[in-house]
C-alpha cells in the first residue's frame, strides 16, 4: 500500500476534518442567525384570547391569532354577501371579527374558532384565515375560556361542556 501522494487538492485527514467541521459550523451558525432574524418578524404569531388582547393592549396592525368561542347570535353577513361579521368571546371580553371569504364547514355559533389576522383602528379584528375545530370531539387548543362558569353566553357554555377540555 503506497502512502498517499501529497498534492494541492489532497489534504491530511485532520485538515479535512477541520474543513468539514468548520463548514458545518458556519452553516449551523448561519441557520441560527436566520432563525433569530426571521423570528423577529411577522412569522411568529402570538396566540391570544380576547381577555389577553385587552390586557396587552395589542396595537392595531400587529398580526396575531385570536381564539375563542363564536358568540351565540353574533353571526351575520355583510351586504356584499361575502363578508361575515361575528364576535369571538372568552366569556369575559368580546372582540368583533370581520372575515371575507369562505368559512370553514365546521364554523358554528357557540363553538371554538381560531382566526388569524390583525386589529384595525376601529378595534375590529380583520381575519385573514378562520380555522374551525376539526371534529365534534375536540375544541381547538386554548379556545375554551378559563372562566367558563362566569360565561355570559349560556349556549356557548353548554357547547363547551359537551366538548370537554
Amino acid at each position: 500500500m503506497a502512502a498517499p501522494k501529497k498534492s494541492k487538492g489532497l489534504k491530511t485527514r485532520k485538515r479535512q476534518r477541520l474543513v468539514i467541521v468548520s463548514a458545518a459550523l458556519i452553516a449551523i451558525v448561519g441557520a441560527i442567525i436566520l432563525i433569530t432574524f426571521a423570528l423577529g418578524g411577522d412569522s411568529l404569531n402570538l396566540y391570544l384570547q380576547p381577555s389577553a388582547v385587552m390586557e396587552k393592549q395589542v396595537p392595531a396592525g400587529k398580526r396575531f391569532r385570536l381564539g375563542g368561542l363564536v358568540a351565540t347570535g353574533s353571526f351575520h353577513r355583510d351586504t356584499d354577501g361575502l363578508t361575515y361579521l361575528f364576535t369571538v368571546t372568552d366569556c369575559a371580553v368580546d372582540i368583533p371579527v370581520k372575515f371575507k371569504g369562505l368559512l370553514p364547514d365546521l364554523f358554528r355559533e357557540g363553538q371554538g374558532v381560531v382566526t388569524e389576522g390583525r386589529l384595525n383602528k376601529q378595534g375590529v379584528f380583520v381575519a385573514e384565515t378562520v380555522l374551525a375545530k376539526h371534529d365534534e370531539n375536540y375544541t381547538p387548543p386554548g379556545t375554551a375560556p378559563k372562566n367558563a362558569e362566569a360565561c355570559s353566553h349560556p349556549e356557548a357554555l353548554s357547547a363547551l361542556k359537551k366538548g370537554g377540555r
Binding site: 489532497l10 452553516a27 441557520a31 432563525i35 354577501g81 361575502l82 368559512l103 365546521l106 365534534e136
Partner: protein, 661 residues
C-alpha cells in the same frame, strides 16, 4: 372471537419480540450459530403474529363488529368498503397497529432478503428491530389496546371523520408509515454496526437499498398528504408547515441526506461516523413525528386522541430509544477506523455540502416545529411559528443546494476539477439567466423571488440534461447515444430522474405561487366569472345523495375564448355519521394548470358564494414527486444494488480497491 385471537396474537408477538431482542446477542457472545439463527425465526414468527392480530382487527372492521370499542367509535355499516378497511388505521390504536405491522414486515424482509448478510450481523440487526417492536407492542398493549370490548354492543357505529373518507387518505398513512418505519432498518443497521464497531463500504451497500426504499415511500406519503389537503380542504393550499406535516418532512430530509452520505461510504469509505449518526437521526425524526402526532401535544386532524398516559409513554420510549442510541454512538463512533481522503473540490465534498444543507434545513424545521411547544412549556404564552419562517429557511438553504446539485454529479471522486464542470455547465447558467431575465422583464422587476425560483429550476433541468449528455457524449458522438445510454447504470438514470423531479417541483411551486388567479364571488345561476383567461359560468345547484352523505352540487361550465373546456361540479357535503359538513372541490387539471372550484354558503335569493381558481402548473408538485419516486425505483432496480446482491469475491472488490488508493 376474532378480537380475542387478535389480542392473544399481540401478546405472543411481544413474547417473541422479547426473545428476539435478547437471545441473538447471547448467541453472538457465545459464538453459537444456532442461537444467532434464532433471530431469523423470531423475525418471521413476529411478523406472522402481528399479521394475525392486524387481520383480526381488520376483520372486525369489515364485518362492522360494534362490540369492539374501536370499531364502534370509528366505523359505520353505511360506509363504503374501502373506508371500512382504511378506517382500521384512521384512528390512534389502529394506526399504531399499522406501525407495528410494518415494523415486523421490515424485520421479516431483512431476514428473508438479507440471506447474504453475515449471520452474526443479520442477527444483530434483527434483534434491534425486535427491541423496537417490544417498545411499540408494550405501548399498544398497555395504553392503546385496539381490542377492547364494548358491552352492550351498540347497534350502529360512530363513523369515520368524513375528511378522512377519501381515496387519497386511505393510502396516505400506509405509504407514510412504510417510509417512517422503513428508516428503522437503517437505524438497526447503524446500531448493529456500532455494536460490532465496524463500518465498511459493504455495510453502506447493504443499508442503501433500505434507506432508498424508505425514502421512496416517504416521498409518496408526503405527496399524497399534500395532494389530499390540496383537493379536500378546499382552499387550494398544498403545504401549511403544520407541525404534523413537518413531522413527516424532517425524516424525509434526513433520509435524503443519508442516501447521499451512504454513497460516499460505499464508494470511498469516508464519512462513516457521520453516516451512522444520520441513520440514527433519521429514525429519531420518525419517532419524534410519532410522538408529536400521537401524544396529543399537537391538535390537528391527525391527532386522534388526547390521553396523557400515552404521551408520557411515547416520551419515555423516545428518550430511551434516541438517548441510548446516541450514547452508543458517542461511545463507539470514535473507534471507527477513519476512511479515505478527498480534496476540497470533489464529488465527496459536493455530497458533504448536500448533507450540511439538508441537515441544517431539518434543524430549522425542527426548531420551528418545537419552538411553540417549548414556549408553552415555560409558560411564555401560546405562539405559532408561521409559514414565512419556514419559507425563508427553505429559500436560503435550498437555493445553494440546487446550485451545487447542478455541478456535483460532474465532479470526479477524490479530486474534481471545477473548471471542467463549469465549462460543461455554462449553457445551463445561460438558460437560468435567460429564465430569470425573462420573468424580471415581463413583470418589470416585480417578481424577484419568482425569477430566482425559475432560474434555479431552469438551471437544474438544464444541468441534469447536460450531465446526461456528457455521460452519453450526445454532442460529440451522437450516433453512439443509444449504445452509451444503455451502458449507463440504472442508478445514474435514477439520480438524473430524481434530480429533474426536484426541478419540476421547484417549477411547480414557483409558477403556481406567482401566477395563481383567484376570484371570490357571489353568483346567481347564469352569471359568468372571469378567472385569468377562463370564464366560469355558474349553472345553478342541485341536491345529490351519496352512500353516507347528502350534498349540494354546483355546476360550472368553463370556457376559454368561447371554446368549451371543462365542466366542474364542486359539492358541499353533509355526512350523516358523524354529522359533519365537508367541501369537495372540483378540480380539472389542464396542461397549463388546474381549474379549481369550491362552493360556499347559500346567500339567499338563489345566490351562492363561490371561490374559483386557476392554478398554473401546480401539478408539477406531484409530477415532480412522482419523478423522484420513479428515480428511486430505477436506482433500486439497479442490478448492483439489489438487496444483498454482492457476494463473495464481487463484494470484496470495492473494499480492496479502496485500500490500494
Amino acid at each position: 372471537m376474532a378480537p380475542e385471537i387478535g389480542h392473544f396474537a399481540l401478546v405472543m408477538a411481544l413474547m417473541l419480540a422479547l426473545l428476539g431482542a435478547s437471545v441473538p446477542h447471547i448467541g453472538i457472545h457465545l459464538g453459537n450459530r444456532r442461537l444467532m439463527a434464532l433471530a431469523d425465526r423470531v423475525a418471521v414468527g413476529l411478523f406472522l403474529m402481528v399479521a394475525i392480530s392486524f387481520g383480526c382487527l381488520m376483520y372486525s372492521f369489515v364485518t362492522s363488529d360494534f362490540s369492539v370499542l374501536l370499531v364502534a367509535a370509528n366505523s359505520h355499516t353505511a360506509k363504503p368498503m374501502l373506508y371500512k378497511i382504511s378506517g382500521v388505521w384512521g384512528n390512534h390504536e389502529g394506526s399504531l397497529m399499522l406501525w407495528i405491522l410494518i415494523l415486523t414486515v421490515f424485520a421479516a424482509a431483512v431476514s428473508l432478503a438479507g440471506r447474504k448478510l453475515p449471520l452474526h450481523f443479520r442477527a444483530r440487526v434483527l434483534s434491534v428491530q425486535c427491541l423496537l417492536a417490544v417498545g411499540f407492542l408494550l405501548f399498544i398493549l398497555l395504553t392503546s389496546n385496539p381490542f377492547l370490548r364494548l358491552n352492550p354492543a351498540p347497534a350502529e357505529g360512530n363513523g369515520l371523520n368524513p375528511l378522512l373518507q377519501d381515496p387519497g387518505l386511505a393510502f396516505h398513512p400506509p405509504m407514510l408509515y412504510l417510509g417512517y418505519v422503513g428508516l428503522s432498518v437503517s437505524f438497526s443497521f447503524a446500531v448493529a454496526a456500532l455494536i460490532d464497531g465496524e463500518v465498511t463500504p459493504l455495510w453502506a451497500r447493504w443499508v442503501r437499498p433500505w434507506t432508498l426504499m424508505a425514502w421512496i415511500f416517504l416521498t409518496g406519503g408526503i405527496a399524497l398528504g399534500s395532494w389530499w389537503s390540496y383537493y379536500e380542504l378546499g382552499w387550494g393550499g398544498w403545504w401549511f408547515w403544520d407541525p404534523v406535516e413537518n413531522a413527516s418532512f424532517m425524516p424525509w430530509l434526513a433520509a435524503a441526506a443519508l442516501l447521499h452520505s451512504a454513497i460516499v461510504v460505499e464508494k470511498r469509505d469516508a464519512l462513516k461516523s457521520w453516516t451512522i449518526l444520520l441513520a440514527i437521526v433519521a429514525f429519531s425524526f420518525s419517532l419524534l413525528g410519532t410522538f408529536l402526532v400521537r401524544s396529543g401535544v399537537l391538535t390537528s386532524v391527525h391527532a386522534f386522541a388526547v390521553d396523557p398516559a400515552r404521551g408520557i409513554f411515547i416520551l419515555i420510549f423516545l428518550a430511551i430509544a434516541i438517548g441510548s442510541s446516541l450514547t452508543l454512538y458517542a461511545w463507539r463512533a470514535p473507534k471507527l477506523v477513519p476512511g479515505g481522503l478527498f480534496g476540497m473540490v470533489s464529488r465527496e465534498s459536493a455530497l458533504v455540502l448536500n448533507n450540511i444543507l439538508l441537515s441544517c434545513f431539518a434543524a430549522v424545521v425542527l426548531v420551528g416545529t418545537l419552538y411553540p411547544l417549548v414556549m408553552e412549556a415555560f409558560n411564555a404564552g401560546q405562539i405559532s411559528v408561521g409559514a414565512p419562517f419556514f419559507n425563508y429557511g427553505a429559500t436560503v438553504l435550498m437555493s445553494p443546494l440546487i446550485v451545487a446539485l447542478g455541478i456535483g454529479p460532474l465532479l470526479a471522486w477524490k479530486r474534481g476539477r471545477l473548471s471542467r464542470a463549469a465549462q460543461i455547465m455554462l449553457p445551463a447558467l445561460g438558460v437560468a439567466l435567460v429564465a430569470a431575465l425573462a420573468v424580471l422583464w415581463h413583470s418589470s422587476g416585480q417578481l424577484i423571488m419568482t425569477a430566482v425560483g425559475l432560474a434555479l429550476a431552469a438551471w437544474l433541468i438544464a444541468s441534469v440534461f447536460l450531465e446526461v449528455a456528457e455521460r452519453t457524449q450526445l454532442f460529440k458522438k451522437p450516433g453512439r447515444f443509444w449504445a452509451r445510454a444503455k451502458a449507463i447504470p440504472r442508478a445514474s438514470w435514477g439520480m438524473s430522474l430524481a434530480h429533474a423531479g426536484l426541478a419540476v417541483i421547484v417549477l411547480g411551486i414557483t409558477i403556481s405561487t406567482a401566477w395563481t388567479k383567484e376570484e371570490l364571488k357571489l353568483v346567481s345561476p347564469g352569471d359568468t366569472v372571469k378567472v385569468g383567461a377562463y370564464d366560469f359560468r355558474f349553472n345553478g345547484v342541485a341536491p345529490v345523495a351519496g352512500p353516507n352523505y347528502t350534498a349540494v352540487r354546483a355546476f360550472f361550465d368553463v370556457t376559454k375564448n368561447g371554446k368549451k373546456i371543462a365542466k366542474l361540479a364542486p359539492e358541499d357535503r353533509v355526512y350523516a355519521h358523524p354529522m359533519m359538513e365537508t367541501t369537495e372541490a372540483a378540480i380539472r387539471p389542464l396542461l397549463t394548470g388546474d381549474l379549481y372550484a369550491v362552493i360556499g354558503q347559500a346567500a339567499g335569493g338563489g345566490k351562492w358564494s363561490v371561490r374559483l381558481y386557476f392554478k398554473p402548473f401546480i401539478s408539477g408538485l406531484w409530477t415532480g414527486a412522482l419523478m423522484m419516486m420513479l428515480g428511486g425505483l430505477l436506482s433500486l432496480s439497479d442490478r448492483r444494488r439489489r438487496i444483498g446482491a454482492p457476494t463473495g469475491s464481487k463484494a470484496k472488490k470495492p473494499s480492496t480497491k479502496l485500500k490500494e488508493a
